[in-house]
Structure formats: C-alpha cells, structure tokens
Symmetry: C2
Subunit: 359 residues, 2 copies
C-alpha cells in the first residue's frame, strides 16, 4: 500500500509516473530494451530527451534565447558551477542569505570570487529581507538567491528585479515547476531534480545564451555550460534514466493543466496546512506570513517531548518522513507537486486528532 | 520481446535485475514508496546504500584501507577530479595514451597539471605500448591509464606495476567488475556505472585512504574525495536510484559466482567472437591479439558498402546497437557482463549467415 510521503527530497513522485515507468521497465515501446539500457546517442533515447526538453520549455515558457541543460552534480555542483561559469577570479558576486542552502552556496562561492552578501535574513531564518534594503554591488558578475529554502521553509513570493542589470541567478531546486515563473527575469536558474522534477542525480540548468562562453580556465569540462550547451548536454553520458523520468513528470504536469493549475493547487495545499497550524496553539510555524513556503512547512509542537510519538503515530496512519531537518528538529511536511491535496487533508486530520489526544 | 543489445553504454542490464526493479517500483519492501522517492538519509535508503557498498567490496575484495565513493559526473567528471584531488598546480602527472578515452583524460588533465605522456600507442590505437618502454617521471603525482578503451577495443591484460611507487590511477569505466582485479595495486580506480555496474549517472571511485586530504583549493566540494568520504558519499544528495540499481547488479553478480566466474564467462564470450572474426576473411578486427578487449569488439566488413545492410539485418534478427563508434565506423559488439553467452552465439550465427549470403 502506498503511503503519503512528506520527504523533503528525494520526494514523492506521481503514482501514474511510477506506474508508467514500471510498465516500460523491460521494453520501452517495442525497442526490446529498458530506457536504462539505451545508448544516449541512439534514436530512441534522443527522442525521449528532446521530448522532455520540449515539454519543460512549454511548461515554463522558456524563451528561445535560453538553453536548457540536463546535468549531474545537484545544486551543490552548481554552487561551484555558477561562479566557475559566470565570474572571473577577483570578480565580486552578490549573494542573498535566507537560509541553510543560501549559506552553503555562499561558502562554496568564496572559493572562486569575492562574495558580497547583499542581504542576510540571519538565523533562525524566518523572513525575506526587504528588497529596498539590499546592498547590491555596482558591478557584481551576478546576484544569487534561493527562492525557496527547504530547511527554514522560507520562500520568495516575488522575483527580486534588479535595477542595475546584474544577472539574476536562482537555486530553484525546491520550487521549480511548483508555479509559473517569468524566466526572462533570470540569467540562470538551476535545480536538483529530486523535488518537483524527478529522481536524484539530474540537475537542470536554464541559462540565458549571452551568459555562455564565460567559463574560467580550470572549469571541469562536464560543468562548462557552453560546452554542454553545444553538445545538447551530451558532452559526456547524461543521467539517461533520470532524464526519462523527468520527461514523464513533465507529461504528467501537462495533464494536470500545467503550472498555473499546479500553482493554484499548491497554494491551496499550503493554506490548508498553515491554517491548521495557525488555528491551534498546539502547533507552531515560526515563519513570517509573507515568506512562508508553499513547498516545505516546518512546524513544532507545544510539547516537544511528544515529537517521537507524533512521528510514530503519523507513520501508523500512513503519513511518513515528517521528521524535521536534523539541524532544526521538530516536524516538516514537504508538499511538492506530487503530494495530492488528499495527502495534506489526511495530515491535517491526523494533526487535529493528535492534538485532541495529547494537548 | 527483449533484444540482444550490444550498446557500448549505457548498456544491457541483467533481465533479473530489471524485473526486480519493476516489481519494487511502487513499493520497496513494504515501505509504501519507490526507492526513487526515499530520503537518502532515511533508514530504508541507508540500508540499500550500505548493502550495495558491502557487496561491491566483497566482489572486488576491496581492502579496508580504501574508501568507496558513489558520486556523479561520470568518468569525464573524474578526468578533472583526479588531478584536482591528487595533484597541486605545477605538479607533473603521467598519462598513458591507448585510445580516445585516454586522450580525453589527458586533455582535461592539462588544465590542472604538467602532463607527461609516458607512453603513447598512437592512432589507430591497436596495441598496448610495452611497459619496459614507458618513460615515467621521477616524481609524478600519479600515473593514469585506461585499462579498457571502448572505442578502439584495446584492453590491458596486466596491471602496469610501477617500481617508483607512483600511485596508479585507472579509468575502469568499461572493465570494472568484468574479472577479478587486485585493488591493492591501485591508488585510485574510477568508472562511470553505465557499462557493468548500473544506470548512467552514477560514478564509482575507489581511493586508497592515504591519498585523501590532498584536494587543491578550488576543487568543487561535490568532487572532493575527502569531503565525500567523510560524509559517506552524502555530502549532497547522491543519485539514489542508480545506487540502488547498482546494488541489484552486485547481488546478481554474486549469484553468478562473483568475478572469477564472470571473468571466465567473459573470456569465453570474447574468444567465441574473435574466433569467428579471425576465421573469416569477411570480417576483420585490427587489434593486436594480446591487447584485445573482452568487453568491446570492433570489426569491419571486407565490403564496407554492406555496413548498413549488416546493421539492418542484424536488427531484424534481434541483435541491436552494433554500429561502430561515429569516429571510426564499421561495427562494434559490446559484450559486458549482462550480455549472455547466448547473445554472442546468436551474433556469431548471424555473422556466418550474413557472410554466406553476401561474401
């Protein structure tokens, strides 16, 4: 029996997608082989790869002046990939710190460039710093921010448009595809796949073409945006099966009505859970209302000694992976695209019942 | 219906492994979720990851003084990863050039260190240079070679033991697990998974512990052997599903009798095909007999105008992906572990029949 899995990532996938993958496991459309067994340069896999890219472009409305890359290494790979591809040694790069992932990105960027922290929410990361207070550099190679922080549960509900023309770079690992976005406002968008896109091991990079060709000497070839763009992400063997799975997810998203519909559902799911938390004195979410994530909702109990009981009883009710991040404790419900409204409703019912029993 | 798939990689997987993956796709052992959906830090995935590493160590006889890393980025990632982790800027590093992949490794290493090509087979790469003629450096940070070249079909049937104590580094992408090896002779072994290990997107690195802690400043964190070893390959989210699939392959290898048994089967498969080629004047393999690969067997027809007919008729007979590499043309049969003897027998029968019809 399937459970409701609130894992922050790798995370729940649409059941239809898994069923299709199961169906096609030994023989993809009469080829007599699994997608895992296909040469990445053969017709069959090329058709899978191209369809996935076309569907992603359609879903996100990616302008023609952007390349879409299917890479490896995760967001952490891009923490190095971004400065290697977009800055020269000695360049200033702007970063906004809104949580654990921003902070890691900043740490890695310091290996490669002068980091100016243009804004810092500060621990325990419960808000988004006011845009008008950001101290951006005159000539930064780019400004990097993290639209959604999975650990703090903090999300930007606006795109910080910069007046100085600095390219905007966003780690969208945990928000990409959860709602419509205007790609044209960004220089580079990247994300690990394992939240809303597909299995871990695939990394999407969407890069404006005028930013290509800037990789510094010493950039590993497999991380070089231009080299990868030129070879259709096949300078080396790509993570073919993860690419295929992402393609199935994109098709599923189209069947759901695309990102506008997903965004509406995601807003509804998040509101349901935040309302349950806020209307009780037993549960608490510390994030400012205008900065609350639609994807990752941490909450604590008024009686933290009940944390383990909560996790255990939730598991018995088929609600799993609700543990908070090991760095913060408490609980966290990650409710990505593939978590149905029914899953959030089940969680809210469980929470009410748990409160009734233990408050 | 399943075909015999001679793809050089991504390549055929054992049918039993695919059947098990299909069976477990929606619910891994009562967890109610797919392995793809599991948090990499949860008990279930940790058990999968640890079992895979233990089985790999058992199969290869990896000494305790070596770390096994499950990374991303493929062999090409390690073309940079090796010099970044094992050499300082200005260091001399030795490379042996025996084919297209050696050459790419050399090209990438030049970004990071002084490359001395200790031996060069030269195009068209049909032999292994005599060890006694290698011009190794006095103080190289390491010597890198490619035990099996998938494009040329050239393989080392010995380990080049160096008298000067230079750590030996081997790109074993296309030979790892095809026969027993003595890990203790190596400093670092690495390989992309998509030949004998599992799906593309997973990269194995086996590194002697005394070589850890040498990564130069500017090494991307997700490529740093020491940082990854310290975190059990989970400094960032690993390619979880590929790791799981590799684990299923390791279990399958154990059921086949381990690497000794695999090596015997692989030798038999290769001999069968080389004998068929050599005993005919219609087919030809150009590689010196003592340097012929057990894994990748390129061959050309006496009448190259029949190449397309060969490929087409082979496909009709259920023998697919026999095209030679785009850089060399002709044909190539890759016969990794998961290609059964029956597949090679079917290919040999087809070749005889094709010759009878067209010679």
């Amino acid at each position: 029996m399937r459970v409701y899995n609130f894992s922050p990532g790798p995370a729940v996938l649409p059941q239809e997608v898994l069923e299709q993958a199961r169906e096609e496991m030994l023989d993809w459309r009469g080829t007599g082989m699994s997608v895992m067994e296909m040469s990445h340069r053969g017709k069959a896999f090329i058709s899978i790869a191209e369809a996935a890219e076309a569907d992603l472009r359609e879903l996100l409305g990616v302008p023609k002046s952007y390349k879409v890359l299917f890479l490896q290494g995760g967001a952490m790979g891009q923490f190095a990939g971004v400065p290697l591809n977009l800055s020269k040694p000695g360049d200033t790069v702007d970063y906004v710190n809104t949580g654990a992932w921003s902070k890691k990105a900043i740490g890695e960027a310091k290996q490669y460039a002068r980091v100016n922290v243009a804004a810092d929410a500060g621990e325990p990361y419960t808000n988004i710093p006011l845009l008008s207070n950001w101290k951006v550099s005159e000539n930064a190679a780019y400004l990097h921010y993290t639209p959604n922080e999975t650990i703090g549960g903090v999300e930007f509900h606006f795109v910080p448009e910069l007046k100085n023309g600095t390219p905007l770079v966003a780690d969208m690992s945990s928000t990409l595809l959860s709602r419509p976005i205007d790609i044209a406002k960004f220089g580079v968008i990247y994300g690990g796949a394992q939240k809303n896109v597909g299995p871990a091991g695939l990394t999407l990079v969407i890069v404006r073409e005028d930013l290509l060709g800037r990789a510094r000497p010493g950039t590993p070839a497999f991380m070089d945006y231009s080299a990868m763009a030129k070879e259709g992400s096949m300078l080396n063997t790509p993570p073919t099966y993860a690419w295929y799975m992402a393609g199935l997810v994109f098709q599923w998203l189209k069947r759901q009505g695309g990102l506008k519909a997903m965004g509406e559902t995601n807003r509804r799911k998040a509101e349901l859970l935040y309302t349950a938390i806020d209307s009780s004195s037993f549960y608490k979410n510390p994030v400012q209302h205008d900065a609350r994530s639609w994807m990752n909702i941490p909450f604590v109990l008024a009686r933290p000694e009940l944390d383990k009981t909560f996790i255990a009883e939730a598991k018995d009710a088929g609600l799993v992976t609700l543990e908070g991040h090991r760095s913060v404790g408490g609980m966290r419900a990650s409710i990505y695209n593939a978590m149905p409204l029914a899953g959030v409703e089940a969680l809210v019912s469980f929470m009410k019942e748990f409160e009734r029993k233990h408050a």
